[in-house]
């Protein structure tokens, strides 16, 4: 059974199609990253799955139950984007109320434990209105996990947080995965998604453009492997021959006395490049291979 299954899910506002016939499957136990530029339709997609807005067409199921279904939502935790908390309630009040609303009234100890996991223990009795933006985000995450859900939606969980808090939340998300929970998160932080997500989908103009593991996405963009070679000076009589060979192997970005940078499409060519240097009587001192980062893949898109 998959954690999320969407079939031809669409949302339109009049003639404006925000999400167009999306098909998506998220397996149980995954940390699934959802990327896309502002206005790509990420939040609309999450809002449809979590019942905040209704879909125009298509179907979806969460934890094997066709949605929208309020019963299955008791097993789902949601941290929506652009949401605000009750300013006059304390952090503890929020967790008590939301756990009760999910049908799993949490004890004070459980609430404090969850607040500790997001580093808000010292602010348990502070009113939400007095919390900083980052702290409110953490409280938003805490309320999403207080009832021990199997599936958790986090819409940009770390935006606006300091670096230390971001690391803490990454650890928490990984811990949730270890407990067998599925996490579906959106983010603008490509580095974050690359670090913690098992699979990634890139959304563009209301449709999923690419989906796969980081390796699968990289494989798709292998044409951009960059090889940086530090070498000894190539003898004058061999220089033209080597340059000609390198130009046939890939796209030569830099070729000097001690340093050569080339982009290739096939990683098997790396060994041939090193061999070509040796045959041209130059020693290869260091080879650096740079695979495209998620940011580069995203920007290429």
């Amino acid at each position: 059974m998959n954690a999320i299954e969407a079939k031809q899910l669409s949302k339109a506002y009049g003639a404006h199609q925000v999400v167009m016939g999306m098909d998506l499957t998220v397996r149980k136990g995954e940390i699934f990253g959802f990327l896309g530029r502002n206005g790509a339709g990420k939040s609309t997609f999450i809002n449809m799955l979590t019942g905040i807005i209704s879909s125009s067409s298509g179907t979806y199921s969460l934890l094997g139950v066709e949605g929208p279904d309020s019963k299955v939502m008791k097993r789902v935790g949601v941290m929506p984007d652009y949401s605000s908390l009750y300013g006059s309630w304390t952090a503890l009040d929020h967790l008590r109320f939301f756990s009760e609303l999910s049908g799993a009234r949490a004890s004070k100890e459980k609430c404090l434990e969850v607040l500790r996991s997001v580093d808000l223990l010292l602010h348990a009795n502070k009113k939400a209105g007095k919390l900083s933006f980052g702290m409110k985000k953490k409280l938003g995450i805490a309320q999403a996990i207080i009832h021990d859900p199997e599936l958790i939606f986090l819409d940009e969980p770390t935006s606006g947080m300091d670096a230390e808090s971001v690391i803490l939340i990454h650890r928490l998300i990984k811990e949730l995965q270890k407990q067998g929970k599925t996490v579906f998160m959106t983010s603008h932080n490509l580095d974050e998604v690359e670090k913690i997500c098992s699979r990634i989908a890139i959304m563009r103009d209301g449709v999923i453009d690419k989906i796969g593991t980081m390796e699968e996405l990289r494989a798709f963009y292998r044409s951009t492997i960059t090889v940086k070679i530090k070498h000894s000076t190539v003898p004058k009589q061999e220089q033209a021959k080597l340059k000609q060979w390198l130009e046939s192997a890939g796209s030569l970005l830099e070729h000097g006395d001690a340093y050569t940078v080339i982009t290739i499409s096939d990683e098997n060519k790396i060994a041939e490049i090193i061999r070509a240097f040796t045959q041209c009587k130059a020693d290869v001192l260091r080879v650096e291979v740079e695979e495209p980062s998620l940011e580069e893949i995203f920007l290429n898109e």
Binding site: G51, I52, M73, V78, P80, Y82, S84, Q143
Partner: protein, 229 residues
């Protein structure tokens, strides 16, 4: 539904507005009952009216200011949560019907508590708890609560419902009595949609008011289920 109801019920007791309204309600009920003999001495009353004279203070407040009180406290019960985006947390945990009916029930129980206490204060002097008048009063409060919930769903901005609530709270009782008593055909038909016509009689026609409240709640539920949060 119980969780939403409990939260709404408790939250209504917090805040200066609620305390003032409860104080007005209790003070008028108590002192009107206490001085009912003075009130009745100046007017000629039927036997039935004389019997109910102790409740006159409370009924006057509920009939004339009840809608204003209910709007004053609950005009933004739904739209404030949508406006401030706290509704996003609620709709991902409970069905929209649960949220709406839970909130309605919480407000209704708050008024039930206030009316019961008022009747108990009255009973100190009347030496009885008039269940018929109590039921009539509660049917009116049910209608007023349902109308506040419906407006809160229909109008997205809390500022607008506050304004409209104040206007309606003042105009509706006057218009209701006018519609009920006027022979003008253009106005008279509206009496069937306003509770005052059904409260004039000493029979169980006041139950129609509960039907009207039910229709308003169903309409509110239908709209709220389609509303984006």
């Amino acid at each position: 539904m119980f969780v939403m109801c409990k939260r709404e019920f408790i939250s209504l007791f917090k805040g200066i507005k609620s305390i003032i309204m409860i104080a007005i309600l209790f003070a008028v009920s108590y002192y009107a009952a206490k001085f009912s003999s003075v009130l009745s001495s100046g007017v000629e009353l039927t036997a039935g009216e004389a019997e109910d004279i102790h409740t006159i203070g409370l009924l006057s407040v509920i009939l004339l200011l009840g809608q204003l009180f209910v709007f004053g406290l609950s005009h933004d019960t739904i739209n404030r949560e949508i406006h401030e985006r706290t509704m996003r947390f609620l709709v991902t945990r409970a069905s929209r019907s649960t949220i709406l009916f839970g909130k309605f029930l919480g407000i209704w129980l708050f008024w039930l508590f206030c009316i019961v206490v008022s009747f108990l204060l009255i009973s100190i002097y009347s030496k009885k708890f008039d269940l018929f008048i109590f039921s009539q009063t509660m049917s009116l409060v049910t209608y007023q609560t349902a109308l506040a919930v419906l407006l809160s769903v229909l109008i997205p901005r809390p500022g607008y419902t506050m304004f409209l609530g104040n206007i309606l709270g003042l105009v509706l009782p006057a218009f209701g009595f006018w519609a009920a008593l006027s022979p003008n055909g253009w106005v008279n038909w509206m009496k069937y949609f306003i509770p005052f016509y059904y409260l004039e009689r000493d029979d169980f026609t006041f139950l129609v008011i509960l039907g009207l409240a039910g229709i308003m709640l169903l309409a509110a539920n239908t709209v709220f289920r389609r509303r984006e949060c």
